[in-house]
């Protein structure tokens, strides 16, 4: 599950390969993040539990906000937040250096004489405010960055794999995509989709699994960033997947009505806004043929959280790691939202993480098995 120094595991040629020093630097970031998570944060949790037991924080309409106010006066609380954010900044710094060193090689690897798929960028496209206003996950330049190269995608891919600490499918970072496809096969075991769309596809980590699961389908991905899409295309080509990537907003895509059999998104909604979320659900309905299936996969919702500290800790992560719609996406009533978007046969629950949509056990139930072990899913039929 994790990556180590000995497992130089180059999952595909586009993944920026670190040299000795860069690998140690990335492992340092990984270890620093684990240290913050396992050694620093638990003490804050203990402090929170003492404060909560005292009853003052609980006796409020918003115990998480009350707890936050109490803890904000503690030096160790603020240092924990600072260190956590610094670890994220070190991640991008380390990965950025490594990508910059091999920029020319990566660009050369992204040129193809006869590609299976395609990438279409739109120089006139303006990224939505929720992307422009704050760089998601603190990735410098943000998801919409475009310098005409594919390098921001290379940063995002390698950085994402280090960030996930190997918990989402090692350096391929693709378990969410497999899990979305596993949900599809759970609710429609015999489906043979002709056309599939991944909304907010990023570098295509969750898009390639759709092509792997349905080799005869025409697979598309849409996202806001030209650089990350150029990289997504190159990455998919090297992984042998024919995917058609296009720059645009998932809120209003350029595809015609009823164009797809399956439309899905993986952890897109919590990076948008409450208004955009509703627009994206409606767009996924518009794009489906009658009877087509939409699947929107997210991290576990707030009501699954065990305690007030977990809620506060996640809220702080959202604020200081720039997750613009964390609360909106994690506290939404998806059954109502999907129904409002016009979907029937709406299903809301947790799909067990799959490594292969066809072969993995297909388990869909009401409760979360915990972060990374299962994913929240809302699905419906057009």
């Amino acid at each position: 599950m994790t990556w180590t120094e000995s497992a130089a595991a180059q999952s595909h040629p586009m993944l920026a390969a670190p040299n000795h020093d860069e690998l140690v630097e990335q492992l340092f970031v990984r270890d620093l993040k684990l240290y913050v998570m396992q050694e620093v944060e638990p003490v804050q949790r203990e402090i929170a539990q003492v404060l909560l037991a005292d009853g003052k924080a609980r006796a409020s309409n918003n115990p998480a906000a009350n707890l936050r106010e109490q803890m904000a006066g503690l030096d160790s609380f603020r240092t924990w937040l600072s260190l956590k954010r610094e670890s994220q900044r070190q991640l991008w710094s380390a990965v950025g250096d490594s990508v910059a060193r091999q920029a020319d090689e990566l660009e050369a690897l992204g040129r193809f004489d006869s590609p299976r798929g395609s990438v279409t960028v739109d120089p006139e496209f303006a990224v939505p405010d929720y992307v422009a206003d704050a760089d998601i996950h603190l990735m410098p330049g943000g998801n919409g960055f475009d310098d005409g190269s594919l390098l921001q995608g290379a940063v995002m891919d390698r950085g994402g794999a280090v960030y996930m600490l190997g918990r989402n499918g090692g350096m391929l970072n693709d378990l969410r995509g497999h899990t979305a496809m596993a949900h599809l096969l759970t609710i429609a075991p015999d489906i043979e989709p002709e056309r599939i769309l991944d909304m907010g596809c990023g570098i295509g980590a969750s898009t390639v699994p759709a092509a792997a699961t349905f080799p005869d389908a025409e697979v598309h991905g849409i996202d806001v960033g030209a650089s990350i899409l150029r990289y997504a295309h190159a990455r998919a080509e090297h992984l042998g997947a024919a995917v058609h990537f296009r720059q645009g907003s998932a809120e209003h895509t350029p595809y015609p009505d009823g164009h797809f059999d399956v439309v899905y998104s993986c952890v897109l909604l919590h990076e948008t806004s409450p208004e955009a979320m509703a627009a994206i659900l409606a767009e996924s309905k518009r794009l489906l043929k009658p009877g087509g299936i939409a699947i929107h996969l997210e991290v576990p919702l707030i009501h699954e959280f065990g305690d007030v500290w977990q809620e506060l800790s996640s809220e702080l992560e959202a604020q200081y790691n720039n997750e613009p719609n964390w609360r909106g996406a994690l506290s939404a009533d998806y059954a109502s939202l999907m129904a409002a978007a016009g979907f029937g046969d709406v299903k809301v629950g947790y799909q067990s993480t799959a490594t292969d949509a066809h072969k993995s056990p297909k388990v869909f139930k009401d409760q979360s098995d915990g972060v990374f072990r299962s994913w929240f899913v809302a699905s419906g039929r057009a």
């Binding site: 904000a72 240092t79 600072s82 610094e86 950025g96 990508v99 410098p140 330049g141 921001q152 200081y320």
Partner: protein
């Protein structure tokens, strides 16, 4: 063709209430230094193990090393890179304050 470097400072870094800006700068520097020291130790460790394994390095050879001019120049560049990396927070703060001063000055 010279490439324009990728950006290094993310847009939007919310203030942590009560945390002084300089505290965060110092923390950033210490973390960066710890990273550099970790890399350095790993590289030294790899080198010494490889050299000893191949029989190329005699015991104590590093302690008696005397760099020539080319080696000194490379070591110079490496030191400057380290300084720029470690002192990044100061430069950022200064740029932000410079921009503020420029805004306020007619």
């Amino acid at each position: 063709m010279t490439r324009v470097p990728l950006p290094r400072t993310p847009n939007r870094l919310d203030a942590i209430p009560g945390e002084g800006g300089r505290d965060e700068q110092l923390l950033g520097m210490i973390v960066a230094l710890t990273s550099e020291v970790t890399i350095l130790r790993a590289r030294l460790d790899a080198c010494e193990r490889l050299l000893v394994a191949s029989g190329a390095l005699a015991a104590g050879a590093v302690d008696h090393f005397d760099p020539d001019a080319a080696a000194q120049a490379e070591r110079e560049r490496a030191r400057q890179h380290t300084i720029a990396k470690v002192l990044r927070p100061l430069r950022e703060q200064a740029r932000a304050e410079l921009a503020a001063v420029k805004d306020q000055t007619p």
